[in-house]
Amino acid sequence: MALLEVNGLMKSYQPGNPILKDVSFSVEAGEFVAVIGPSGAGKSTMLRCLNRMVDIGEGQVFFDGKDVGAQNKKGLRDVRKHIGMVFQHYNLVPRLTVIENVLHGRFGYKSTLQGVLGRFTEAEKRKAFDLLEKLGIAEHAYKRCDQLSGGQQQRVGICRALIQDPKIILCDEPIASLDPNSSKVIMDHLKTISIDFGITCIVNLHQVDVAKDYANRIIGLKKGEVVFDGPSPLLTERFTDEIYGMKTVVETRELITV
């Protein structure tokens, strides 16, 4: 069985208004998958169904052999602790230090009391520093997160995901709030992670060229449906036009004005 399997996933927030319609795909360990599609296509919703941050409507999601939708509270926690997540707005606790935010990634492994008291082992702290070192922000370990630049904060977010020892990392538009230089740094780090640590990455992106540069495989989403799923080089202009509906829109508009 593949690391992640999605079968016939449907999701709607209001009845009669499906956001995802019959989405199916599977992801093998070690893949670097980019999910592209126009805003509102359902990329964030799909990503959040994978670790059940939003409830799965119909269909199944299997992660590491477990039916995510069927887990009870404790089972869901176990699923989530092996899934890292990186967000567009980093979602750190701004007033806390970098190192504290990184260690938050370990809560899934701790009892409530250990977490509330902030008991972390020496090994965990060392791991946190190693990760910060690897992402080049160890010198900021004791700074408050709100004193860091966007790119640096996103690297903290990646460290927080990595310290979970995840099998997969889900990234929801990780570079959408960053300048081109920081974007490149972040994407390079994600690529390195997937190659060096063998961690599977699923990255929502809205820049097609970035997706093609970094991902081995691209899934194109349009109005809640998968309209492309294949190796990056096969994503030709014909498909991107379909996904983003550009040519067709322009053409019809021209017809109307003429």
């Binding site: 670790n51 941050m53 869901l76 926690r77 176990d78 699923v79 989530r80 602790k81 899934i83 890292g84 997540m85 967000f87 707005h89 980093y90 979602n91 750190l92 606790v93 701004p94 007033r95 806390l96 938050h104 990634g105 370990r106 809560f107 899934g108 492994y109 701790k110 409530t112 977490g115 509330v116 902030g118 977010g157 927080r160 995901a161 979970q164």
Partner: protein, 261 residues
């Protein structure tokens, strides 16, 4: 087109203005309130204050007693506020959409908050007076109840604005509810919450005087007692100490705010 809109606006403003004037006259007429006579009374009141509200040596002799009561009142206000803050924190966590456990708890906590906030402290003292009688518990409870309402509302807003993103992130790591509350929600919202608590302590010290008059406790009671026995020198001294205490507390909390925010 634009001009007619402007004219209409002008007309509405005139109407509103006339309405206010009519309303003022009407209410003055109903309550038998005379503008002229009340204006005439001002100089007299001033003169009375100047001649009666003078602190003399005899009044100063009462200072230790006054300080005792003042400190008692201040401590009661602080205690009522901080204990209320603990309950409010709990209610706010239950009531905030970000950290709500379930709908029923959330609605309940917002209901409690809104009930206790929308009844003024003075009304609370009178209500509680009936059930608890004239003692310091009544004064304490009146401040406590009003504070719970205000702080719960303020804390809910603080939590909502401070914690959205990080709560989502921690939920995704598999963190438990109380881990999220204690390590993301509270640390991020704490300075703002402390600031609200300080504000409420200031407010409560002011209200405590009034509540004290009604419930017969603390500095308010002392004020009332000397006022009724027409010992205006002591009344003046009490007033001055209250004002000084409030100013002092305000300066102090401004300092604390600067440090924590």
């Amino acid at each position: 087109m634009n001009e007619t809109v402007l004219k209409k606006r002008k007309f509405q403003m005139t109407l509103l203005f006339l309405g206010v004037i009519v309303l003022t006259y009407l209410s003055a007429w109903i309550t038998d309130y005379g503008f002229i006579s009340s204006l005439e009374a001002v100089p007299g009141a001033m003169a009375w204050m100047a001649s009666n509200l003078l602190v003399n040596g005899e009044a100063l002799g009462k200072l230790p007693d006054i300080m005792d009561k003042l400190i008692e009142t201040i401590f009661m206000s602080i205690a009522a506020t901080t204990i209320a803050a603990a309950l409010s924190l709990f209610l706010a966590i239950m009531g905030s959409k970000t950290t709500m456990v379930n709908r029923a708890f959330g609605t309940f906590s917002r209901f409690v908050a809104s009930l206790s906030r929308n009844i003024p402290v003075v009304a609370w003292s009178l209500i509680l007076l009936l059930s608890f009688g004239q003692n310091s518990v009544t004064g304490f409870l009146a401040l406590f109840v009003g504070t719970v309402g205000f702080l719960t509302r303020a804390f809910i807003e603080t939590i909502d604005e401070a914690a959205l993103g990080s709560v989502e992130a921690l939920r995704a790591t598999g963190a438990t509810y109380w881990q999220i509350v204690s390590k993301a929600v509270v640390p991020q919202g704490l300075p703002q919450m402390v600031s609200w608590v300080l504000f409420m302590i200031e407010t409560n010290i002011r209200s405590a005087t009034l509540v004290g008059i009604l419930t017969g406790t603390g500095i308010g009671y002392m004020f009332d007692m000397y006022y009724k026995t027409m010992n205006y020198e002591v009344v003046a001294l009490i007033t001055i100490t209250i004002v000084l205490a409030v100013i002092l507390i305000e300066l102090l909390s401004t300092r604390i705010r600067k440090v924590i925010l």
